[in-house]
């Protein structure tokens, strides 16, 4: 095991796949000579050359369109959209073209491409560079949606996304780029569509994604140490496909579910999960599902404001305590 940053795991994942498969090509703005605006792609141009690592003009339509055309004709492109907010500038490709062409043509094409993008708040960049837009993406049939929380998952899930025959929207969280963690040596590939149970508890289940995962884990520690509440924490890792079996098993066991979402409230991914849980294990629930999300507002810039609106460890603890009204020593389910 080597320790890598979340940032370096991006380049490591891309390099691993480019080295094993000549069909993998990479395009985006400032990704080559500059190594990426978040320095996530440093070294790739030197190692793989300008034929495979291509700097593009500021043309989001052309970047995703070209990736799609290349994927339809035998390559396995990785396209970078610098900030996930800019997906709105090329949403036609996500919503209308990449996701629908296989279906519309009765399976005449496969679409093996990955769109990587920096998602999420925490950098005080304001409302156009801080959004969490994973819920936009999961509303579209035909594209997979992945969001890793650890360096190991960045490498392993990115490798899996590149190898996957379907298009994958891969959300890297910009506030996690400096996070360090162990990454397995040698070839590392994870499976798409499997949630991970990071800790198992008996009283509640907290489900989180990307930057909300470390906060959920911290909150679980506090709840255990200070309030005697024992929490399961699930890292969803992928919204499409969605690992509902892992989720339903834990919710059935603990009877209480909290979602921690960075996306704005309306139609956030937690709403879908809440719906699935109430439809499929309603009688195992001891309380209504609680969604802890960013309020339905644009993301403000000032550090004090941004910190106040994104779900924090403290807010998770507070929401859990309020909902559970937990009395130490009391049996579950009262």
């Amino acid at each position: 095991m080597a320790e890598l940053s979340y940032r370096d795991a991006v380049a490591a994942g891309i390099a691993q796949e480019m080295a094993r498969d000549e069909r993998v090509v990479f395009l985006g703005e400032d990704i080559g000579a500059a190594g990426g605006v978040f320095k996530t792609t440093v070294g790739l141009l030197d190692r793989f050359g300008p034929r495979r690592v291509r700097d593009t003009p500021i043309s989001e339509l052309a970047i995703l369109g070209a990736a799609m055309g290349a994927a339809m004709t035998g390559l396995r492109p990785i396209a970078e959209i610098m900030f996930s907010d800019f997906l709105a500038c090329c949403w036609d490709y996500v919503a209308n073209e990449i996701s629908k062409t296989r279906y519309m043509t009765n399976g005449q094409f496969t679409m093996p491409l990955v769109i990587r993008t920096a998602n999420g708040a925490g950098s005080r960049f304001g409302a156009q560079h801080s959004q969490s837009v994973e819920n936009w993406a999961m509303a579209i049939p035909g594209i997979k949606v992945v969001a890793p929380a650890t360096p190991a998952d960045v490498k392993g899930l990115l490798a899996a996304a590149i190898r996957d025959p379907d298009p994958v929207l891969f959300f890297e969280h910009k506030s996690l780029y400096s996070l360090k963690g162990e990454v397995p040596d040698g070839e590392h590939v994870e499976a798409l569509g499997r949630a991970k149970v990071l800790r198992r508890g008996d009283d509640i289940t907290i489900v989180a994604l990307a930057a909300m995962v470390p906060r959920a884990l911290q909150a679980a520690d506090i709840l255990q140490a200070q309030h005697g509440i024992s929490a399961t924490v699930i890292d969803l890792r992928s919204l499409v496909p969605l690992d509902t079996q892992t989720l339903l098993a834990e919710v059935t066991r603990t009877g209480r579910l909290f979602t921690v979402e960075e996306n704005p409230r309306l139609c956030g991914w937690g709403a879908e999960i809440s719906s699935i849980v109430t439809e499929e294990c309603f009688f195992d629930l001891d309380q209504p599902v609680v969604r802890i999300s960013t309020p339905h507002i644009p993301i403000p810039a000032a550090d004090a404001l941004e910190d106040a609106v994104i779900p924090s460890t403290a807010r998770i603890v507070t929401e859990v305590l309020r909902a559970v009204d937990f009395r130490p020593g009391a049996a579950r389910g009262i």
Binding site: A62, A67, G69, T73, T105, P241
Partner: protein
């Protein structure tokens, strides 16, 4: 035009007749309420599809718009597949899952018909990039309308294709109108495509899009340039649609004199007259016309006889594993 050998010219004529008769049949089937949804006929614009269709080689890529029946047929896709798709039948090219605006036949090099104006231009650039990367000598040809020259994707695609020197050919079918608005009312230059070419370091090329010989020669030149590694071409073909924008449009917004003058330049009768003037016996041409009509009739009957697609097929091929599962 003497440089085009007679067998090729006869093939061009046959293609023109196929596209015309099949498109007319699509219109008839619509009047019989057998074609559902919308459809955008290319009546009057066949010479562009025929000229390019014949000039292109087997592996080349065609990308077209919702107005794409002619381009799909010109690459050799079967008429029954085209008419069947318009009618929502199992025999359709997409087995009923795409409809008139999305005709695709990968095995004929037809890489899709796209219904978002301009959306396919960057995609064609990607296919050309892939051809360049693989060293395959293939070219990607994208067809689009005059209205498409005012959308961002057009400009992004041309710039990237030029900067990367890709084997991409952009063919504007300038039929003078977007849906209902004359292109000149909304465009800053006279030639919506050709006058933009300089912005991308490309020569301005304007071709008579109703002259199949002229289109064929222009296509050959652009394909040769693409295969030589000399980069993209932008070709503006001037043409006119004989019917409305889509099935419901009577096209009342067009001055009668304008329609009249363009009908005189209908690519079919003008080419027929040219072939006759070159000494082609009329019986050769009537034989072609008779055979094509019989083929259209057979395709029509086959499409009518084809059942609607099975309901289960609505749930196939969202994903590469053939299914539609989004959860376990």
């Amino acid at each position: 035009m003497e440089s085009i050998p007679l067998p090729i010219r006869l093939t061009l004529y046959k293609l023109l007749v196929e596209l015309r008769y099949c498109e007319k049949r699509a219109h008839d089937l619509f009047l019989q309420n057998l074609v559902k949804g919308t459809s955008h006929l290319a009546l009057g614009q066949e010479a562009i599809a025929a000229g390019f269709g014949l000039a292109m080689e087997k592996g080349d890529y065609t990308f077209c718009t919702y107005r794409g029946h002619h381009h799909t047929l010109a690459r050799g896709a079967p008429m029954c597949g085209v008419l069947g798709e318009l009618m929502g039948r199992q025999c359709g090219l997409l087995a009923g899952k795409g409809g008139s605006m999305h005709l695709t036949s990968v095995k004929h090099g037809v890489m899709g018909s796209y219904a978002i104006v301009g959306g396919h231009l960057p995609i064609a650039v990607g296919a050309a990039w892939s051809a360049q990367y693989r060293g395959s000598r293939q070219a990607a040809v994208a067809f689009f309308g005059d209205g498409t020259t005012n959308i961002g994707a057009f400009h992004e695609a041309l710039n990237l294709a030029a900067v990367w020197k890709l084997p991409a050919i952009f063919v504007c079918e300038n039929n003078l109108y977007m849906e209902y608005t004359p292109i000149r009312n909304v465009t800053a230059v006279e030639h919506p495509a050709a006058d933009r070419a300089a912005s991308y370091g490309l020569p301005a090329i304007v071709v008579d899009g109703n002259d199949v010989d002229a289109v064929y020669l222009a296509a050959g030149a652009a394909l040769a340039r693409a295969r030589a590694g000399d980069g993209p071409s932008l070709i503006e073909c001037k043409t006119y649609r004989h019917s409305g924008h889509s099935r419901a449009d009577p096209a009342k917004y067009r001055p009668a004199a304008e329609v009249e003058s363009w009908l005189e330049r209908d690519p079919l009768p003008t080419y027929r007259a040219r072939l006759l003037a070159h000494g082609v016996p009329e019986s050769n041409l009537t034989n072609i016309e008779r055979d094509v009509l019989a083929e259209v009739d057979r395709a029509t009957e086959a499409a009518k006889a084809s059942p609607p697609p099975a309901i289960e097929s609505a749930f196939t091929d969202v994903w590469a594993d053939g299914g539609a599962q989004w959860r376990n």
